[in-house]
Amino acid sequence: MSFSVTEPTKGTKWFAGILVVAYAVVTIIPLLWIIATGFKSPTDSIAYPPVVVFEPTLEGYVNLFTDRTRATAQMLEEAGPPTTWYDEIARERGTVISGPSRYGERFLNSIIIGFGSTALCMILGTMAAYAFSRFKVPLKDDLLFFILSTRMMPPIAVAIPIFLMFRNLGLNDTHLGMILLYTAVNLSLSVWLLKGFIDEIPTEYEEAALIDGYTRFQAFYKVVLPQAATGIASTAIFCLIFAWNEYAFAVLLTSGTAQTAPPFIPNIIGVNGKDWPAVAAGATIFLVPVMVFTVLLRKHLLRGITFGAVRK
């Protein structure tokens, strides 16, 4: 092993490691608490002192996905024995399931709007990024800065005219409206990130393809796109996460049909005040996919969060 003056000593490494692990443990507690609360019974969830060891139950998840009504003993008897496991959990609390809750719909909306806007954003973003990377576009720097500056506006500030505009066009509370809106918001990110990724692909490949008789279009989708695949995939995940997490526009511009999950989850109310296990269950289902994506993205995280300004 070669000796280096810049290599930290063993003691330093241990000291640094312990402090970082301590911070990581503290920072992860709220997230673990959300996941744990989703599996608690309502009593356990509000117990004092807070319980760490408890008997897990799926009651929170049942409450999240169903609407229930209070039932008298007589009604329960008439209904006969519970037919499913979730029915059984509801019966234990003296309620019967009256139907599915809205959470499923809201979650589906999040998926439709998230994936729809991401797809559109990637198509437009890749095209624009390719043009900015390879062609002489007049006023290139100004256009790129304009694209970036759209991200500085507080969402609430543009929400007023967008609300008016959408109302006139009949786009308020529609999937299409939200898809277009999130696409526009994410375009700055996707153009800037993708331009960085495409800049890194040597132009020689395309030149060779063009000399071989490919047209520009063919060179673009047969040579450049496959080369940029990793970059496109990670940019897409960033766009998806943003659309997935967005709240301000969702709460102002949607109310029913196109409402996504973030404005809905905080409003899950139980029979006696807030039903925390159900809220936590809803949050868990909503947050865990993002954590998985974060692990997949870890190599490109820095680039994504700084719009490509910092590359490792």
């Binding site: 507690i29 709220p30 277009l180 700055s188 989850i265 969060i305």
Partner: protein, 315 residues
């Protein structure tokens, strides 16, 4: 530079062939590729912005479409700038901005510095630390209200576990003095990893050879830290501050779910106040002027800051 790749290709291709195989010229393709993006951004960003500016000179109200819209000139702006409530809101925003940035820079830089000591498994722990910033602020903010519950909340339990006292004695989101700190803590928990990641990139960009040279000159570690590490990581740190500054000036989702702006107006940040004016009181013209003022403030502060940042980079 006239010798772009395209020109090189053009030179190598016989003119007749070029005409046949190219189909569309590069110039046309460039426009076809850029136009949809620019069009969508104009429609969803610039057009609404111009509309906002126009509305800001009127007394228009969305909930009274039949009333005549009057041109009121600068009256909306005058009223906003003379309104003491707005200055309170600005103060709350400033408190939030300054403290979140100070805490996030201190903690984030320290973490990055420690992670850069390259102990075993630092990648794994970095990924774990990063989780909070990728999550939905609204959903997380809502859950923090649960952690902050006086009797049953985990936060109060842990605090009183170390300090003694009764966890039911204080309420982070119910108390006028504590609520501004409650939002600072939640935001710091969420966004410290962001500053950490950027600082880490900064620290990793410093070549080892500089430290080796400093060792040869017998510079102490302390001196190396202040004369090499800090100056060389400074542009990255400033970039992190810029991003956090803009984001937190716009802050809405986390705080609105956490405190809803209360108690009283102690955590009513500008975005929350603007939302109330525009979508609860429906004072469209007035709130448009408010939006324009905020917008000019962000742009102004950001461009001054970027100038400073560029100066630091040049050094």
């Amino acid at each position: 530079m006239t010798d772009s790749p395209i020109d090189r290709v053009a030179q190598r291709t016989p003119p007749g062939v070029a005409h046949k195989i190219k189909g569309l010229s590069d110039r046309t393709i460039a426009w076809i590729f850029v136009a949809p993006t620019i069009f969508l951004l104009l429609a969803v960003n610039i057009f609404p912005l111009i509309w906002t500016i126009r509305l800001s000179f009127t007394n228009y109200r969305v909930n009274r479409p039949n009333r005549d819209v009057e041109w009121v000139g600068l009256r909306n702006y005058e009223r906003i700038l003379n309104d003491p409530d707005i200055w309170n809101t600005m103060q709350a925003t400033a408190h939030f901005l300054i403290w979140t940035i100070v805490l996030q820079v201190l903690i984030g830089f320290t973490l990055a510095y420690l992670i850069n000591k390259k102990f075993k498994g630092n990648d794994l722990w970095t990924t774990i630390i990063v989780f909070p910033m990728m999550l939905s602020p609204a959903v997380v903010g809502n859950f923090w209200t649960f952690l902050y519950q006086p009797q049953i909340g985990l936060f109060n339990y842990i605090v009183t576990f170390f300090t003694g006292g009764d966890p039911a004695d204080f309420s982070m989101i119910g108390d006028v003095h504590l609520a501004p700190w409650a939002i600072v803590i939640a935001d710091t928990w969420m966004w410290t990893p962001f500053v950490m990641l950027i600082c880490l990139a900064g620290l990793r960009s410093i070549p080892d050879s500089i430290y080796e040279a400093a060792e040869c000159d017998r510079a102490s570690k302390w001196r190396q830290f202040w004369t090499i590490t800090i100056p060389m990581a400074l542009p990255f740190l400033m970039l992190a501050v810029l991003f956090r500054g803009i984001e937190n000036f716009k802050m809405f989702d986390l705080v609105v779910q956490l405190t809803g702006g209360g108690p009283g107006n102690t955590t009513t940040l500008t975005s929350i106040d603007l939302k109330r004016e525009a979508f609860e009181k429906w004072r469209t013209g007035y709130s448009s002027a408010y939006a324009v003022i905020l917008f000019v403030t962000v742009f102004g502060l950001a461009s001054i800051y970027v100038k400073a940042l560029n100066k630091v980079k040049e050094r």
